[in-house]
Subunit: 330 residues, 2 copies
Amino acid sequence: MRDVASLAGVGIATVSRVVNDKPGVAAAVAERVKSAAAQLGYHHDLTASSLRRADRRTDSIGVIVGDVANPFSAAILRAVEDVATRHDSLVLIGSAEQDAIREKRLIRSLTARRVDGLIVVSDHISEELVDARQRGVAVVSVDRHIEGLTGVDSVTTDNRRGMREAVHHLYDGGHRRIAYLGDLPEIWTAQERFAGFVEGFAAIGCQLDPRLVRHNLHSEEATHAAVRELMAADSPPTAIISAQNLITISIRRELRALGRDSIIAHIGFDDFPLADLLGVSVIAPNPSDIGRTAADRLFARIDNSTEPERHVVLPTRYIPRGSGEIRRRP
Amino acid sequence: MRDVASLAGVGIATVSRVVNDKPGVAAAVAERVKSAAAQLGYHHDLTASSLRRADRRTDSIGVIVGDVANPFSAAILRAVEDVATRHDSLVLIGSAEQDAIREKRLIRSLTARRVDGLIVVSDHISEELVDARQRGVAVVSVDRHIEGLTGVDSVTTDNRRGMREAVHHLYDGGHRRIAYLGDLPEIWTAQERFAGFVEGFAAIGCQLDPRLVRHNLHSEEATHAAVRELMAADSPPTAIISAQNLITISIRRELRALGRDSIIAHIGFDDFPLADLLGVSVIAPNPSDIGRTAADRLFARIDNSTEPERHVVLPTRYIPRGSGEIRRRP
DNA sequence: CTGTTAGCGCTTTCAC
DNA sequence: GTGAAAGCGCTAACAG
């Protein structure tokens, strides 16, 4: 930078002004600086810039999800990226794998690199997150609502309502014995979805058979086993509701293997690519909407930290594709 | 940091040593510094650190893909992230959308933030990339080989071989009229795969009917139209090879719509989630392997920039699932 | 073992 | 309009 300044015959401050497109530089001088920069192959160093700048912004944000390779997370990520690009910001990613230790490490790692904001899919209040907030990092919680975390916006889906609707839909199809297959109960969305399931049963005035409820299905094998057990029971369910996309898929595999895929009604929470081709009915949140909304909120906060805390709840949409429309056999 | 130093009654350099776990500090002093840091809520600023450090490393890398939401890209991303984590590095992402302008912007944006290395899925030599190399940023080209780009490692799959095998396989199933549906011919992988298709035909001593070859299928509609046209022709193909995952999926949809999905043989390039449930045979590269290998090479280069240039070619695997095993009707 | 000093590349006063 | 100087938070070199 000093070299550019001396080659252009100007002061170092003027180079800075030109590089940042700031007003107050004669056009001719700006031109001279630009050509000097090009000649010397000069490149602006944003890290040094943000160190000295009054606002201390790095124009980068961090996104922590469960797994970037999960299609739901990937869709959120992409939507966030698009918003970030519009704000000239870059996106740093991290997969926390539902692991509190990894998550803490990631938060520390990201804040140490001075990201302007953080979008987090998490279930619990970690010290480091509160810390980050206090140090002025904007935070938006996505897809999960964290009780008791102040100064943090959240963007979630209406899990309960979506689930209640699914129960109603199966009830209308004649089903009374409806199984529930869900994820780890620590996960907030899993809790909400199960609560919605219970509420749905209460609303239709039906007795919920606890033997048809399975939690903790965090692997393909566990889900397969659960389906096999349910189907082998004395009075098996006539319909299944699954509370997460991976579980839904595992169920499809197992039902197919058992030759029951066209007999048992099935509705899954979360849409997924190719669900249309497989004919799987789903309760679909909109990950792009979620990501976009979250990123919008984040940048609003970054630009104006006095915004009041806000919690956006986005609706789900039921998409009938066949599996949820299988009626109970008379 | 100065505050921590004075509270602990030590010099600022000692704080730095403690924070970086450097040797040469008495245990008692280190303890004092740590508690002072905790008391003041001190946090290490990695951006300032890397500005001053001798190696100038930021412990962050950039990954530029077509679209982070594409399952193939997402899998690569995840593999890269895992390797990066082992190297205490963070991952910055960008979706270039096959757009040279966006790609250039991303490269500039990333290098301006001083990433240590760049993993890029790109088809052409952009000035910015060469520039980045010259300024000492390590670069690995992934899934594409860029002709004439020096000092850049590459990790690709054996597209030609995979494609030749697919042609052979269909030939063995009795097929002679095999259609090819491919992506934009600018894309290197599309070129290679088509070349493999042609080679396969040459090897089996068969005449390739140019009317059965369609390029430029970069949207769902274009692919649907191509399938409809091919099927409506006087002598339609008895088998189809598609050169990319999205095209494969579009073909499945259209074949299903036409009621031909169990009659026409079909092999797709690239595996995709749920291909097993749909019974789609594929030529499968391994995106996790690709990502991991690329990241390994990148960090090897970052740690030792004198490494000779290397080009790794990974094999594909044919996965029979039914659609590729449909024999020609007698 | 520890402290002092210089300076990474940049932006921001504040004078001119 | 422009330049000189100070300093963002940190590490490296050297002296003690």
